[in-house]
Subunit: 341 residues, 2 copies
Amino acid sequence: MQHKKYKFSTAATDFYFGGSFSQLKTIIDQKATVLLTDENVFNAHSKKFKGWRTIVIKAGEAYKIQSTVDDIIDQLIDLETDRKTTLVGIGGGVITDIAGYVAAVYMRGLKFGFIPTSLLALVDASVGGKNGIDVGMYKNMVGVIRQPSFILHDISLLKSLPDKEWINGFAEIIKHACIKDAAMFRELEANDLSVYQKKPKLIAALLQRNAQLKAKVVQEDEFETSVRRLLNFGHTLGHAIENQYALMHGHAVAIGMTYACHISAQLSGFKQTDRVVKVLEQYGLPTYMSFDRQLAFDLLKMDKKREKKEMNYVLLEKVGKGVVKSIPLVQLEKIIQALPK
Amino acid sequence: MQHKKYKFSTAATDFYFGGSFSQLKTIIDQKATVLLTDENVFNAHSKKFKGWRTIVIKAGEAYKIQSTVDDIIDQLIDLETDRKTTLVGIGGGVITDIAGYVAAVYMRGLKFGFIPTSLLALVDASVGGKNGIDVGMYKNMVGVIRQPSFILHDISLLKSLPDKEWINGFAEIIKHACIKDAAMFRELEANDLSVYQKKPKLIAALLQRNAQLKAKVVQEDEFETSVRRLLNFGHTLGHAIENQYALMHGHAVAIGMTYACHISAQLSGFKQTDRVVKVLEQYGLPTYMSFDRQLAFDLLKMDKKREKKEMNYVLLEKVGKGVVKSIPLVQLEKIIQALPK
């Protein structure tokens, strides 16, 4: 197990790469810990949870809502949890988002950590301290930014991960490559999903590279006033269509990235849309979609990245170099209406 | 209007003493602001709210719950509020607690400020960044610590404040005197409620002195690992009986202080219980009460100040000098069972 510590402006996160679930009790005091997971993860790995106090919730984005938070808080009270308790989220992005949020608000803040079980949570959701829940159609409308105390990578948990979840995770990996890492983009072009699925060392290294890429961006700009905004590449339009069409997050982001490439071609001289589209397809991700342009724009208007009458939109100058452009809403509406189908 | 800035470890709060509601628009941009208030305050001062986007909720501690937060968030979405919006809570402690909490979690954090309209909010609830809501019988079980951007004192709003709310506020003023300010305790002994109600300059000075006393304690220890704990004097037992018997917060704290004096006599050699009891009575506050000892202890066990099998309890060594003692729960249970009625 390899240990790396990242200090953020408000806290520090210990990363344990190449670890295993069974090492959790060497990191924290079992008696002062509550685990939070979902039914899928719990049923797939029930033996690992023996001896741990565990709260199990229903699986899926549909449960990333306030009423689930209310239920978890009631259970924490029943368990007589105090302020010295650590809450550990074991699951995909929905679990890490909810666990981080509950830990932030219960008793004005418990310590928390994660064992991410999905590719997406390993490379993205678990890192950087953003947490929260959805409100109606609006993704992550409520939440705070607060860093986890630790993140433990156990690649063996990926064995039970369905193919569609691998694909989901590769959307964020491709995103990282597009905005920040042209060399990784070339590695992705040279391989495909089945290669990574067959080679544990190769995927472990890729996951660590992505977690560290994101941790460094967050270190530089924890509260998203500059470089962290780049991580929203593909997410502005992506979030607007995700809940509306019940898309997987990675699918929504892939579609969002495709259209962000087209907007980049118009506004920042980007010329490599075909390369991005090809890599997305290579990893089983969707690219173009016939969605309701008006409804998408109306939802997008409420995105957290809006500032009054302008939207901060992430574009590409070239593969490996993302930029943030402030686009007036009136102009953005026209651009979205005219996107290819 | 007198302006003082207090820097905390995570943020700064601008205090405006001796100001007025009408000066609010000189502090913030009216177009990028939403006010939050309750029906009582809104009806008593409806003219002052003209021209401001305002969310009005029902008045009272019974509404300091998650479903009220959910309603406010829905209204913020309907108002197309973005991240650059400032939320201003105008009301008593319930409003400042909810406004601070909603602002902390909506879109992962809006700026917020307060115009406190009750004595209690002026000297206590508005200062220090603690916010939150109740869960069932448990007070402030959910919330975060986050500092307001500004606090504006407008003493003229106290004109419509009923006597019982004056009494409520004096409980926290007496608390401050007990733990930190023997000179202020003597000032309180020399006066009574009607003196302060008749002399605007005297009450304004007392309110400023208390707000500053609290701000300094919070500056020293924002996340309550040391001196800030003193502010919980009277609150551990107080909270345990407050919701159970639907007591006013100040009444519950006054009773909590009375019994904390008795516990102090046993554990920290305190000899001035009579002086504290006399001042509480002088300001119309209750002292002894026949409550269900066992139920109170069972609720108190879940207090946020518990650490595993011990409770951090605030005691007095003498008037003006509070101390924190860690009391084992088994011992505390016996002490509470044996308290005088």
